[in-house]
């Protein structure tokens, strides 16, 4: 900073200081006008003005507090329909996923509910190799069966297939016995 600028700043600082100090006549006369102007402006605000200001600020403060509370209430109310919508959407997705699972991984009967398995026909000279399934024993599957029910149904069908195999084995053994007995009857040596 230039020396003359520093000197001017120092002089003006003294002329605008609110603390009394030893000043030369020139600076003191400058300071008088400054103090009178500031003092009169300060005096223009009375205690009544202060109270009015405090009251107005409190009103604004409480109004803001109320508006914030209202905004909070309104935002919580706005969340209600959104939650209902989300719950509905989640339920719809769950049902869709369940249907898709049944369509792609379910039993043939379910994949093609129209095509029914042909009932086993009795033939002459043969025994029935498997009992017809009774409707009460076979688990019924519907479009809205759960995944667990689908698994139960699949297990039941596997067991049924196992029982069919064992019945066929028994029949083959009895045929074999009968052939053996016929062969023995026809054996010339035995004659």
């Amino acid at each position: 900073m230039k020396p003359e600028l520093e000197e001017l700043e120092s002089r003006l600082r003294a002329a605008t200081s609110r603390q009394a100090a030893d000043l030369d006549a020139e600076t003191a006369s400058l300071r008088d006008g400054f103090l009178i102007l500031g003092g009169r402006l300060e005096d223009e605000t009375s205690v009544r003005d202060e109270l009015r200001l405090i009251s107005a600020l409190r009103d604004v403060h409480s109004a803001e507090a109320v508006s914030v509370k209202k905004a909070t209430d309104a935002s919580s109310r706005d969340l209600g329909p959104m939650l209902v919508f989300l719950a509905t959407l989640a339920a719809a997705l769950l049902v869709s996923a369940s249907i898709a699972w049944n369509v792609f991984y379910g039993t043939p009967a379910i994949r093609n509910p129209i095509a029914q398995p042909e009932p086993h026909k009795k033939t002459e000279g043969t025994t029935v190799i498997a009992e017809e399934t009774s409707p009460a024993e076979e688990p019924l599957l519907a479009w809205d069966d759960s995944l667990e029910e689908t698994f139960v149904s699949a297990q039941w069908r596997v067991r049924q297939a196992g029982s069919l195999t064992s019945a066929a084995d028994t029949e083959v053994e009895s045929l074999y016995d009968r052939i053996q007995s016929v062969a023995e009857e026809l054996d010339p040596a035995s004659l």
Binding site: G33, F34, D43, V60
Partner: protein, 177 residues
Amino acid sequence: MADLQPTSADDRLTRWVHEHARAIRGYLLGVVRNASDADELAQETFRRAWEARDRYQEQGQERAYLLRIADRLACDRLRKRGREVQLDADAWQAREPQIDDEPHQRMDRFETSGRLNAALQALSEMQRRVLLLRYFGEFEFAAIAEATGCPLGTVLSHCHRGLESLRKRLTEIVHEA
């Protein structure tokens, strides 16, 4: 400066107003020269300061903090007006007369107010801002330069010219005082 952590929010707001309202309103009255505008801007100053109180970190500089807000608001208001508004006598006399004021005291006050109005009117906006920031905030000239966005030399020049103008116009009041 008083402690910045009073017992309650209301206490703090009340303390702020008690300690600084006269200075803030006085500053605004001097710059915008209209009592109702000064009231409105003072309220806005405290409201903004109150809203930003959590971000306010400069402990012990409350007055300066409030004055900076008031200064920005006053400048915005003057810019919106686009012209200097004459301070009317009614606005200047917004202060309620004291009950124990004698008629001659009221007359003196009225005459003094007229002279002050004339003295203020003779100052430019920058001169008023510089002098009143110095008076009410006891800002250093460098801080005034920062607040007003002017170089330090310009601030000193405005201050000097303003003081000369006041001396010329307030000589009679000074002598009466």
